[in-house]
């Protein structure tokens, strides 16, 4: 069991409010990822759930029980840190068994549980080594193993992969996903890496300045961002945002052609992702522009098209592109994929 509920949670450091009233329900067994730019409060929120930071206002329930005032050790949560926080003087076995030993578990039980966790994490050959003799990925696995052994209600991960190199990161990401499938435990995962968020999460929580900007599945966030912040934060390269105006059932772009508009409220910004624009002859589609430069990446090419008053628009071309800098093109926006935002930046 590991249902976690945050009720109007706030965090104040003196007069500075870092978390500005967060309500969130996390279901048992769910994989939740907190993302946001640095300083958005994602790590603070995680540490408040873990009990490492006090909750200034609001309450925290775990499995329906109010644990706001309880110390970390009573909440039954297991935190995995970016720095691993392994004990350098202990072997892998002792590191993993530390929690059980402090709880006074019998030796046989400790050995059994440590071995079981080691098997799951493929750490069997390293049980007698010390942390310094392990690779970064192995250390992270030991840190996870130390938590598994205690059968926690939920796992809290604080940027666990950010100290690993790119290849290891992909591998460990895959292993964490598999671990979640196998343990079926609630996991809350903080990261600034979008790809980790998109691929791991059941639901993503996007934070901005201590406020939840949007909560939803990766698909919801990518396809229907609730506001300009989420639209630009999720996706790489970024969604193109253009100034626009609407009148009745059509939208207009300054110095270019518009299209149909369905929503009731007027919009001031149009968002379109690079992969939802097709390139054609000048005069076709929504606007014209001149190719500024082309980035060839192999699987795709990204063209930055200078559209005058509209600004520079990034367009994805699958595979290679015959276009080169200086050529004139027309850009057609996929009408199904347009996002519109009002003057406050909210989706219309």
């Amino acid at each position: 069991m590991g249902a976690i509920k945050l009720n109007a949670v706030e965090k104040w450091y003196g007069n500075v409010q870092v978390i500005k009233g967060v309500d969130l329900e996390i279901n048992d067994g769910e994989f939740i990822v907190f993302v946001g730019p640095s300083g958005c409060g994602k790590s603070t929120l995680l540490r408040m759930i873990g009990g490492l930071e006090d909750i200034s206002r609001g309450t925290l329930d775990i499995d329906g029980r109010d644990v706001t005032a309880e110390p970390p050790s009573k909440r039954g949560l297991a935190m995995v840190f970016q720095s691993y926080a392994l004990y350098p003087h202990m072997t892998v076995r002792d590191n993993m068994g530390f929690g059980l030993k402090t709880a006074g578990a019998p030796k046989a039980e400790i050995a059994e549980k440590v071995n079981a966790a080691a098997e799951v994490l493929k750490l069997d050959p390293y049980l007698d080594r010390r942390p310094k003799d392990l690779s970064g990925g192995q250390r992270q696995r030991v840190a996870i193993g130390r938590s598994i052994v205690r059968d926690p209600t939920a796992f809290l991960f604080d940027e666990p992969l950010s100290n690993l190199d790119a290849a290891l990161r992909v591998e460990m990401r895959y292993e964490i996903a598999k671990l979640h499938q196998r343990l079926d435990a609630t996991m809350i995962y903080v990261t600034h890496d979008q790809v980790e968020a998109m691929t791991l999460a059941d639901r993503i929580v996007v934070l901005e300045f201590g406020v939840i900007a949007q909560v939803g599945t990766p698909r919801e966030l990518y396809e229907r961002p609730a506001n300009l912040f989420v639209a630009q934060f999720i996706g790489s390269p970024k969604m193109n945002i253009l100034a626009c105006s609407t009148s009745g059932d059509s939208y207009q772009l300054p110095g270019a052609r518009g299209g149909a508009y369905a929503a009731a409220t007027p919009a001031e910004h149009l968002g379109i992702r690079p992969e939802h624009i097709t390139l054609g002859a000048p005069g076709s589609g929504q606007c014209d522009g001149e190719v500024d430069f082309v980035e060839y990446l192999g699987a795709d090419s990204f063209l930055v098209v200078d559209c005058g008053d509209l600004g520079k628009i990034t367009v994805r071309s699958i595979g290679d592109t015959p276009l080169t800098a200086g050529e004139k093109v027309g850009l057609t926006f996929d009408p199904e994929r347009l996002s519109f935002f009002d003057k406050d930046g909210l989706r219309t």
Binding site: S73, H89, T102, R139
Partner: protein
């Protein structure tokens, strides 16, 4: 090619390293020779052969009156004082350092007191120690303790504070009490540092020992050096100086070896 990039080859490096020692020896021999030629009874720069003969006599021949070999008596007395002082300091600094590093209350209580204490030049306290504890062994050991404990304590406390916060937090979420954290998480990690602190402090400990022995004692390496100064017995003094240096070197080497053997997980530990 710039001087900065000129690297001596292997035999050249060895030769260069030996050069200052050789030069010192040659300069001494020549100076000694000149003085002794002018005045054969000159005691200021005894010939190297005289020093060797004196050293042999000091290490092997018993004193006529006491029938004991004074150098060994001096060594045993001095080392006992040194070990006593350093041992007490190590224990004190370990306990107080752990407390300061882990417990905010202890930190408030002790840290400024120790900071002020470490500003007092311990040798200035020596007369007070003599008056309070008398001229016996106690005042010598206490001088060493007063002299090196503040530094060691502050350094160990600092080291405890440098243990990543996450390790302490993790131990707490794993249910460890303050005592368990102190004994199983913090203590093992500062033990290597304790040894390196002892190694660093031994130089000062020797100074305090020699100073105390010079001022008031009747046995000990420092006492003997300052005693024979009155007779300008340079050969004896030089033997004692070389012997003390050798002892310091051996103790340092033993501690270094101990540290490497006992804490193999130390280097580059994360």
């Amino acid at each position: 090619m710039r001087l900065i990039n000129r690297i001596p080859n292997r035999p050249g490096a060895v030769l260069l390293a030996a050069l200052p020692f050789v030069l010192l020896l040659v300069a001494y021999s020549v100076a000694s020779d000149i003085r002794l030629t002018a005045n054969p009874s000159d005691k200021l720069l005894p010939a190297p052969s005289t020093i060797a003969a004196t050293a042999e006599r000091l290490f092997t021949e018993p004193d006529r009156r006491s029938k004991e070999i004074l150098l060994w008596n001096d060594t045993v007395a001095s080392l006992a004082r040194l070990m006593g002082g350093v041992g007490i300091s190590a224990l004190l600094s370990l306990v107080i350092g752990l407390a300061i590093g882990l417990l905010p209350y202890a930190r408030s209580l002790f840290s400024s007191f120790i900071a002020v204490l470490s500003m007092v030049p311990p040798l200035a306290l020596l007369p007070i120690l003599f008056i309070v504890f008398g001229l016996g062994e106690t005042s010598k050991v206490v001088l060493i303790v007063i002299g090196i404990t503040p530094f060691m304590t502050r350094d160990l406390a600092q080291r405890v504070l440098e243990i990543p916060k996450e390790q302490i937090v993790k131990a707490q979420t794993l249910g460890a009490s303050t005592a368990v954290i102190a004994l199983r998480v913090a203590l093992p990690q500062i033990l290597p540092r304790l040894i390196s602190n002892v190694r660093l402090s031994l130089g000062s400990a020797w100074l305090f020992l020699i100073a105390a022995e010079a001022v008031a004692s009747n046995v000990g390496l420092g006492y003997r050096i300052f005693l024979v100064r009155r007779y300008l017995a340079m050969d004896v003094i030089l033997t004692y100086v070389i012997w003390i240096t050798l002892l310091a070197f051996i103790i340092d080497w033993l501690l270094k070896t101990l540290s490497r053997r006992a804490f193999p997980w130390m280097e580059a530990g994360l």
